[in-house]
């Protein structure tokens, strides 16, 4: 074995021993992803089910019963009946119900008149996103009722245009199926950066960086020896997350394992490179930890498209998202899980990750010097 090979093996052995003896690195690599994924997986869902809805029927009739029936059949609503509007309004203000559907006294009569009846629907709009989704469900129930009313012998005419929605990749629109692949990207961003952010800062703080410098090991060997063990740990954490997603949360996985391996390797290199960069710049564990959280976790949470749609952000913020590595990985994972190996999506995003990895690692290499100043 060449001298360089011997030195690298020795350094790798040192790093491996350090990881084994300090359980905190193993905890960050395996326990943290599993813990975070578990909490997020159960806690984060945008699907509204059994939304409490008040129904005010001022004069019950066959027509009102038909409409109420549609609301009751919908899996999205849990209906409560109120005799008058004022009582329902009080319940809405007290947050007992999220919305009111109001069938007025003249509902049946006006249904048969030329002007038609109006169904009042009042929602609590504080949570705008949920309110919008509930609006959509109400419209579905209304459209179903309308279709029934337009049958021969029914009281009304159908709407002339029929909408047939077809949702590709996630026909049941389960929000968990789109959130969990994004969560894996989020969790790996965090562990990747935390793992490496502290390693060089730690050597500086303990004074062992100087000891490393006076050895014959080159800088490249030192950095490589830092990178490789954590890369392997990161891949392990990644595998644990994917297995958890598929087995516990039953997210379908349509892609191929090797596409996942290649893209996750690229992403991990970018994340670890970022961590190394922070680490060489900070030289102090407190600052390194702070930067790691602020520069990686928060952007990965908000700017990656994991919950909030990037396309809807204002242009300046959208431009910023291009430097967030997690953005590309979220897109890749959502596609791999829900759609499969779509190269038109995977290739450009993988290329972006490769570029970022090269950039971070290159800058980290340039910034790291065998000097004490």
């Amino acid at each position: 074995m060449s001298a360089a090979g011997v030195r690298l093996t020795a350094l790798l052995r040192k790093e491996a021993l350090q990881i084994m003896r300090d359980p905190s690195a193993l905890a960050i690599a395996f326990a943290l992803p599993a813990f975070l994924l578990f909490i997020f997986g159960y806690g984060v869902t945008l699907d509204a089910k059994e939304v409490p809805l008040g129904v005010v029927v001022e004069r019950p009739s066959a027509d009102t019963a038909a409409f109420e029936g549609k609301l009751r059949q919908s899996p999205y609503f849990e209906t409560t009946e109120y005799r008058d509007f004022a009582a329902a309004e009080r319940a809405l203000e007290a947050h007992e119900i999220n919305g009111i559907v109001w069938l007025r006294e003249d509902f049946s009569r006006r249904m048969r008149s030329s002007r038609g009846a109006t169904i009042g629907a009042i929602l609590n709009g504080v949570d705008a996103n949920s309110a919008r989704i509930v609006e959509g469900y109400l419209q579905q129930a209304w459209a179903a009722w309308l279709a029934d009313a337009a049958r021969p012998g029914g009281p009304g005419a159908a709407l002339p245009v029929a909408v047939a929605p077809r949702i590709r990749f996630n026909p049941e629109v389960r929000s968990r199926d789109y959130l969990i692949p994004g969560l894996i990207a989020l969790v790996m961003t965090l562990t990747g950066a935390l793992l490496t952010a502290l390693v060089i800062a730690r050597e500086w703080e303990r004074g062992t960086q100087e000891a490393l410098m006076v050895t014959r090991a080159t800088l490249r060997e030192i950095l490589l020896a830092k990178l490789l063990p954590y890369f392997v740990l990161g891949l392990g954490g990644m595998a644990a997350s994917v297995i958890l997603a598929v087995t516990l949360f039953r997210v379908p996985f349509h892609g191929s394992a090797w596409a996942l391996l290649v893209t996750s390797s690229l992403f991990l290199l970018a994340a670890l490179g970022m961590g190394l960069l922070i680490s060489t710049a900070a030289r102090n564990q407190f600052v390194a930890g702070q930067i790691a959280i602020i520069a990686t976790f928060l952007p990965a949470f908000i700017l990656s498209g994991f919950v909030f749609d990037i396309g809807s952000m204002p242009a300046p913020i959208r431009a910023v998202t291009h430097v967030v590595a997690a953005r590309y990985f979220v897109t890749i994972l959502q596609t791999l899980f829900l759609a499969g190996d779509l190269w038109s999506v995977l290739l450009p995003n993988a290329l972006a990750l490769a570029l970022m990895a090269a950039l971070f690692l290159g800058v980290a290499r340039l910034r790291a010097r065998k000097r004490l100043d």
Binding site: L36, D127, F308, V345
Partner: protein
């Protein structure tokens, strides 16, 4: 007792504010996050890329598509002429929605048969998919009603008149920005209090504090109250930004808001003191703060509603101070809630505050004894 505590508070504030690094942690990231969260964290739809596959180019289909063009939520990026392109555009994410107007659209419209429009949506982001369908349905329904009115087909037997209380434009910024008040107040308070004892332990000055005539309770108060002060100040700055910059309506009086804020900051301080008295190094304190913060933000209802979570998680969120404060801050801002209405939020906050302070005091005495 009080002069000693006061002196310690002054010393703590000086220690935090004189260190440039801590000053930056208090000012820089919160402001940056306020801007990024405030603008980036949106659930509203803007310029969603839409492709149009019009198999029946006619006056009727042009009218329908013009309504999509006129909506700020949509942006038509492509016109397709081949059915094979529909899936390709969705797959490559060039379009989130494809509107496929049926070949017999006009004929069916005139023949009083249901004219078909197919909407193909990318389901990889299911929330966007649902919103896109909701917006599109609204547009198509409006078209239908106008067409019926123009062609004398008789009105639909009943129409849905949707209204939203408190937030009529359904602007998600009004929901997110008050949430940021809670989020950033928690982050800053926790970092200040959580690291304060560990920093003294590392610097070795903690022993000096112990040999002063102050008892554990006084030291604890001296460590906790600066956190409460800084938390209140930070929250005030963000509340001002929410009202003056983001123009979120503040409908309620300030008293219920600040009562809630005080209890919330006290609860977070108590938890910070617990972490602080357990941690030996700053790194441990940081990890502890982080391990508390991530679940407490995720399970607070900040971005995703608590009502959608499984029952056992919903029960667990009762001990999360941020969950209760979010109800208070959004209630006062948007619904104009009063102190009496928010009572169910105040007492759990007070309980968590009292409980965490007691535990912190007990841990503290054990560690210092």
């Amino acid at each position: 007792m009080w002069p000693a505590v006061l002196a310690l508070i002054v010393k703590e504030l000086l220690a935090i504010l004189k260190d440039p690094r801590s000053r930056i942690v208090l000012i820089g990231p919160p402001l940056l996050q306020l801007v990024v969260f405030g603008y980036g964290a949106t659930f509203d739809l803007n310029h969603v890329p839409v492709a149009v596959y019009d198999e029946d180019p006619s006056a009727a289909s042009r009218d329908l598509i013009a309504r999509f063009l006129g909506s700020p939520a949509f942006e038509v990026v492509a016109r397709l002429h081949d059915a094979a392109d529909v899936d390709r555009l969705i797959d490559s994410r060039e379009a989130t929605l494809v509107i496929d107007v049926d070949r017999r659209f006009t004929r069916d419209l005139l023949g009083h048969r249901p004219a078909r429009v197919q909407l193909i949506v990318d389901g990889r982001n299911s929330n966007t998919a649902l919103l896109v369908l909701g917006y599109s349905n609204q547009i198509v329904t409006d078209f239908s009603r106008d067409w019926l009115a123009a062609h004398g087909g008789g009105a639909a037997p009943a129409v849905l008149d949707l209204r939203a209380n408190y937030n009529p434009p359904l602007n998600s910024q009004w929901f997110i920005v008050p949430g940021i008040v809670a989020l950033l107040t928690q982050v800053v308070t926790l970092l200040v209090v959580g690291l304060s004892v560990a920093r003294e332990r590392e610097a070795g000055t903690f022993d000096q504090l112990l040999v002063t005539p102050m008892g554990p309770l006084e030291i604890l108060l001296g460590k906790g109250l600066p956190g409460v002060l800084i938390g209140l100040l930070e929250a005030t700055v963000i509340i001002l930004a929410a009202v003056l910059w983001f123009r979120v309506p503040l409908r309620g009086p300030l008293l219920p808001l600040y009562l809630g804020l005080f209890l919330f900051v006290a609860a977070v301080t108590g938890i910070g003191l617990m972490i602080s008295s357990l941690a030996v190094t700053q790194q441990q304190a940081l990890l502890g703060a982080f391990l508390f913060m991530v679940p407490s933000i995720t399970l607070s209802g900040f971005a995703t509603p608590i009502a959608n979570m499984p029952r056992f998680i919903q029960a667990a969120t009762q001990v999360n101070p941020m969950r209760h404060f979010l109800v208070i801050v959004r209630g006062v801002f948007l619904e104009g809630s009063t102190t009496a209405e928010l009572l169910p939020q105040y007492w759990p906050l007070a309980l968590v505050a009292a409980g965490s302070m007691l535990v912190a005091g007990w841990l503290f005495r054990r560690r210092t004894a």
